[in-house]
Symmetry: C2
Subunit: 320 residues, 2 copies
């Protein structure tokens, strides 16, 4: 089959990758559409060692594995877990000690014509949700993960720092709580997507310091962290949604003096993500800046790395 | 009256400080005994600007202010608050925007023959608690503050990093939950105090990494932070109990990937601290390394700054 192959911090399109064979409990999924995430770009930059097929945001059709799912459109959770270790049995399955992660760690991913995942990871896509929206289920789930760790109250003042792909989804998801939301970033065109949803936006200077109950850091850089921390009232909550490469230098004194709470946040729940997509409550269409056929995968990665670009999709059936 | 006076990062004993006049709602307290805290040492080093009488750990006798308290032995909460601002009315009184803090910010402290505090800040000391124990009410309250932010479960694995004054009290307080506790530090003599209480201790190398539910950082230095972080299992909780001077460089990637929760923690509740002291459930006596009369306050500070020294007390009535 055809697939994007990552090796030695470089990608290429291969035509000779064997179609994966589902193991016991796994399904074979024919990929329809997949999305390029910042983590994919970081993998190419060597953020962590991975050789194989990257990609973890997808929508596809089940071809084999469980009769009741056969032929259904699905998306899937990316952590394949053992179910037996202390993390799994303590309700922290996404932290399974023996996990493989689709397109990230120990398991080939979604930038290919076919992938395999445990049947338990798959979620049928509601009929009314087009592929171009369903492919966002994974990052929307990541946005919703905030609510699994932090109670955002309807009358909270919340600031989202960063107007990248994840920041825009986080802001949209948080706005559904009814909270008083401000999204800050450096790109007017990206913030305009939120303005169109009725969400207040601005530059970092628009933040009234020491006044927000919750700040969500979606930039992954130290400046964003400092902005988010300064925005918080005493005993405010800082959520870290972005992965950081390298060390982060922070002024820790205010964390103690103001008794700040910091929550690292990663993968989230797919079912609510698909429910929100089914109701059309999130604008994902405006985030899609380009769709490339799989055969032009290298061009797709180049486009996705441009600072002005939001989501780039790969169409597995598109003509190259 | 006599008092220790801090000015331009130097202390001296003065004999000419006017006795404070209690304002409306305040009591005049004749100080019996006070304790030197690391924060006091940091104030002398210029950690934050303060000129006047330092000291915030004390036990004393009420001489004027409220008839029902008159003549009683008391200790007192250190934050004097407005009661009206958003922090006060939102249940975060210790973060009052207009607060003064005994011996730390905008209010003369306890290294003097007399101090004033709002009547509402005072807590009568139970009869059976000697002055030498009651003077620990403030740091014990700070140790108990952990329980106000974090639910430490009886079967949690908990590690306390740091064997200074605060670390030893934190470990003793946490051990009362029944949790599986390990306290690590660099000073065998200090850790022996905990061993005598039945608490397991060791060097940092004794920590099994990625296995603790809760880690409490009581060193205030980046090495301690890194040790505490590495000790935690995924979704573990890191409590920062020490103030940090200067920037702290941390590897933030595991905070996100392992979804770690970090809680800054400062002042805590006095009533439970006094209840535990009344029951004799905490060993404070072993922490007292020296007691100096007020007139030898400069010597007391020098002694308190020695790395092998735990608590140094100032006896306001002692002969100099």
């Amino acid at each position: 089959m055809r697939a994007i192959w990552l090796e030695d911090c470089a990608i290429r399109v291969r035509h000779d990758v064997p179609r994966p064979e589902p193991r016991e409990g796994e399904a074979l999924v024919r990929v329809l559409l997949s999305g390029i995430c910042n983590t994919d770009l970081e993998l190419v930059r060597g953020y962590m060692p991975f050789e194989g097929i990257p990609g973890h945001e997808f929508v596809g059709v089940v071809e084999a594995g469980l009769d009741s799912l056969s032929g259904m459109r699905v998306t899937g959770e990316i952590n394949a877990v053992c179910g037996l270790c202390e993390e799994c049995t303590s309700g922290r399955r996404t932290h399974c000690k023996h996990r493989t992660v689709l397109g990230i760690e120990g398991r080939n991913g979604a930038f290919a014509e076919y992938l395999t995942l445990p049947v338990e990871n798959l979620h049928p896509v509601p009929d009314g949700v087009p592929n171009e929206a369903a492919v966002f289920a994974e990052p929307i789930a990541a946005a919703l993960a905030i609510g699994e760790e932090v109670s955002v109250r309807p009358d909270d003042r919340v600031v989202v720092v960063g107007d990248g792909k994840l920041g825009l989804l986080v802001a949209q998801a948080l706005a559904l709580s009814g909270c008083e939301l401000l999204a800050v970033g450096r790109h007017a065109a990206k913030l305009a997507i939120l303005e169109a949803c009725g969400i207040r936006t601005g530059e970092a200077g628009a933040i009234e310091e020491r006044s927000f109950d919750v700040a969500v850091e979606c930039t992954g850089n130290p400046e964003g962290f400092a902005i988010a921390l300064a925005a918080l009232r005493p005993r405010g909550t800082l959520v870290l949604k972005s992965t950081y490469a390298g060390d982060l230098s922070i002024d820790a004194a205010p964390v103690v003096v103001d008794e700040i709470r910091i929550f690292g946040s990663r993968c989230g729940p797919f079912a609510p993500a698909l429910r929100l997509l089914a109701r059309g409550l999130l604008d994902t269409g405006s985030l899609v800046h380009a769709t490339f056929p799989l055969g032009r995968g290298v061009d797709a990665f180049e486009r996705a790395a441009r600072p002005d670009t939001l989501k780039v999709l790969l169409d597995m059936e598109g003509a190259s």
